[in-house]
Symmetry: D2
Subunit: 168 residues, 4 copies
Amino acid sequence: MNDKGRETRRIVSVIGTSTATPELYQLARETGRLLAERGCVVVCGGRGGVMEGVCLGVREGGGLSIGLLPGSRDARGEANPYVDLPLATGLGEVRNVAVVSAGCAVISIGGAYGTLSELGFAMRQGKRVVGLDTWRIRDEKDQPAAMLEAHTPLEAVELALEELEGTR
Amino acid sequence: MNDKGRETRRIVSVIGTSTATPELYQLARETGRLLAERGCVVVCGGRGGVMEGVCLGVREGGGLSIGLLPGSRDARGEANPYVDLPLATGLGEVRNVAVVSAGCAVISIGGAYGTLSELGFAMRQGKRVVGLDTWRIRDEKDQPAAMLEAHTPLEAVELALEELEGTR
Amino acid sequence: MNDKGRETRRIVSVIGTSTATPELYQLARETGRLLAERGCVVVCGGRGGVMEGVCLGVREGGGLSIGLLPGSRDARGEANPYVDLPLATGLGEVRNVAVVSAGCAVISIGGAYGTLSELGFAMRQGKRVVGLDTWRIRDEKDQPAAMLEAHTPLEAVELALEELEGTR
Amino acid sequence: MNDKGRETRRIVSVIGTSTATPELYQLARETGRLLAERGCVVVCGGRGGVMEGVCLGVREGGGLSIGLLPGSRDARGEANPYVDLPLATGLGEVRNVAVVSAGCAVISIGGAYGTLSELGFAMRQGKRVVGLDTWRIRDEKDQPAAMLEAHTPLEAVELALEELEGTR
């Protein structure tokens, strides 16, 4: 990896439920593969479900995945088998903040309540956030939250990387 | 405060936007007053908007409010003027986790993205969560999140304290 | 508590080992009593050992103690029996940052490794730090860390409250 | 990188002051180079001083360095120029917990108070901790903390990787 390569590798965070349906798992896997093929480093929570799907896809695409795990030891033991770099954080749920902070964009697939907290932090930080079959969020005036909606992994990746023009 | 008082004082977390409309500010103020009158200790983020409104109401109701501030010094300077106990946390946005963890129930009023992250953590923790004019959240299958919906401060307080039977 | 009282109540953080010897427990208890008698609010980690001793002393002195607990639920169950306001934080070890951030000064009694992390954060924040029978810390040039050394609870409290002239 | 390679790459955390003397900078640089030559991934705080020295050494040794930065955006802008993978965490000082949690061992070089907090967390977690020209820490009974003392970068790396028999 030359210096230029180092400088220009984009990091994308992918968040989502740890208990994914087979459909969500495949969406995550395809998303990971597409991100890897575009040379992105993928950061996620490193556990199962959507996180495992995306790491499998990244491996299939020849990319690099980083999993930020909640415990303080044995990250490999906590991680799904496809995480390239499992990092123990010792932060428990607080790691969610780090997962979304790492990426220049955040792609959310499916999602449980931990994912919802990550979406809140990502939008609070002004990140580019793309939802694929995930939480639908509207404010008290019934205005949608600042998420771009994708209908396929390809659209999610293109919106995240601003290859498509997103509308907020 | 006698020992029994100590043991039985309930803590309720109130979360919401720091830039509240006058309407939201008054909803927060009334909610704080009602919680104080029922002997609850109120924990919030200690800043302006909804947080200031609820602290003013707690003071009017003769209760105790605790504000968990993001900085590591001068919590009084960061806090709204009605916080009884301003606690610097040094945690920045991570303090949101502590704000919702402190309460046996969480009442959300209005809300920006920080509030959304708090709602995610609160439901992740299985807290009793009551929304009053706040985020509307549905999952990818269009099922509502585990929040009780209130239409008035009184209803919000009664749902939070389980004086009303909530439906999830 | 009137507004003036609110404005002027000083908060002091007390940190120390959860498995205290009877001697350390008594030092903590006396320190808590003296802080309460001076009208300080005491913040600690809310568990056993030194934390329990200081909360007992605060209660004997008629003061108010706040315990910041690591879990996200049932703070009362996690807390020692003398904590007045047990606040669950959901932060695990990260709560150590909040414990030292809350006080205008930090008193360290005895101590295990968690306490050492708290001392590092407190000095990083430029807090006034007083050690009583605690870690002895010198840098690579053999210069002492920015802690004031006390030999009795009374001296620790007076140094913390700057009633004595400390030397750094 | 084949699967076996993935499984067996050890992660070592290196901590130390952001304002290093030229001597400490060179110790860090040599330590980074030796860790890279042994195939370790190096995690640090990603800023200047010791953190920059170690990342430069890792690059010279052909290894991979990960920097966990305090901010929530523009990790590249916050990072020293030699960090291979700069990860924004959005955690501020709390990131210190993640820096030490990531490694199977922690090497401390020089150090300011942030480093001291990291040493506390690392020993709290039972990590293998090696000090090179860093804080000297003894408990209230004048017993040394659970750190191995190294006198050269080579000794530090060998102790961290248990190629030497450390004494605690």
